[in-house]
Amino acid sequence: MIPLSHVLTLSVILFVIGAAGFVLRRNIITVFMCIELMLNAANLAFIAFSRYLGTLDGQLFVFFVIVVAAAEAAVGLAIIIALYRNRETLNIEDLDSMKL
């Protein structure tokens, strides 16, 4: 059987890769995809704990996370389209008009 710590290690590695991409990438769509990667890493941890605790609540949390991710993707991509229409750029460095 797969040890719990190995599944959690995979989850942590995926989360950290997503966080690194969030810091390093300049394209707003790629940054958004890195957020999805981090959400999936958290989902993996939920599934692993659900399996090892023998309860289904973790799986239902993943279900709700997926639903919220779908809503988030729809609204987020609509915001990106509206931004692109107004500013003609996807580079997050050019989208700093709210910076002090």
């Binding site: 810091v23 300049r26 999805e36 605790l53 639903v67 779908a70």
Partner: protein, 162 residues
């Protein structure tokens, strides 16, 4: 069983690295779809059949199609590195590696590798349905309102202004 998990884990880490290292968003999106499908296989190995199917249908199917669609609609090409992105690299990468080591240390201390999975575990759609509509009815209903608001918001935001 175990060997399949380790193969999927290794390939998904490589694909996740590809998501981050590619400069062209379409390649990142395709790598992300690979990661999501491999995670669905891992969910199957962990006994979460329903979530594995949902992962493929909703995540890899619906959400990523939305991403690829927007990437192609906006014709997002290669990103060019800049001065500030170099600063992010010098500051961000050490911080992220420190975070990785810290959490790994916590995981390996907290959960020694001998932890056994629960013996009797029924994760079929029937069991999930019972739990969802008995204990989690309120979150389920709130979720439907959330979806409605998201649809309205997406339409209003993406609408062309007169």
């Amino acid at each position: 069983m175990e060997i399949l998990f380790y193969i999927c884990a290794a390939v998904s880490v490589l694909a996740a690295l590809n998501v981050v290292l590619q400069r062209t968003p379409v390649y990142s999106a395709l790598s992300l779809i690979l990661v999501l499908c491999l995670l669905a296989v891992i969910y199957l190995l962990l006994g979460a059949e329903f979530i594995a199917v949902i992962q493929v249908i909703v995540y890899a199917g619906a959400i990523m199609v939305l991403f690829v669609f927007v990437i192609m609609l906006l014709n997002a090409g290669r990103e060019v590195p800049s001065e500030r992105s170099r600063l992010a690299r010098w500051l961000g990468v050490p911080l992220v590696i420190a975070f990785l080591l810290e959490v790994l240390w916590a995981v390996w201390n907290q959960f020694p590798s001998g932890t056994a999975p629960a013996a009797d575990f029924d994760a079929g759609p029937a069991a999930i349905g019972h739990l969802l509509f008995r204990n989690y009815v309120l979150p389920f209903e709130v979720t439907s309102v959330l979806i409605l608001v998201a649809i309205l918001g997406a339409v209003v935001l993406a609408k062309k202004e007169e």
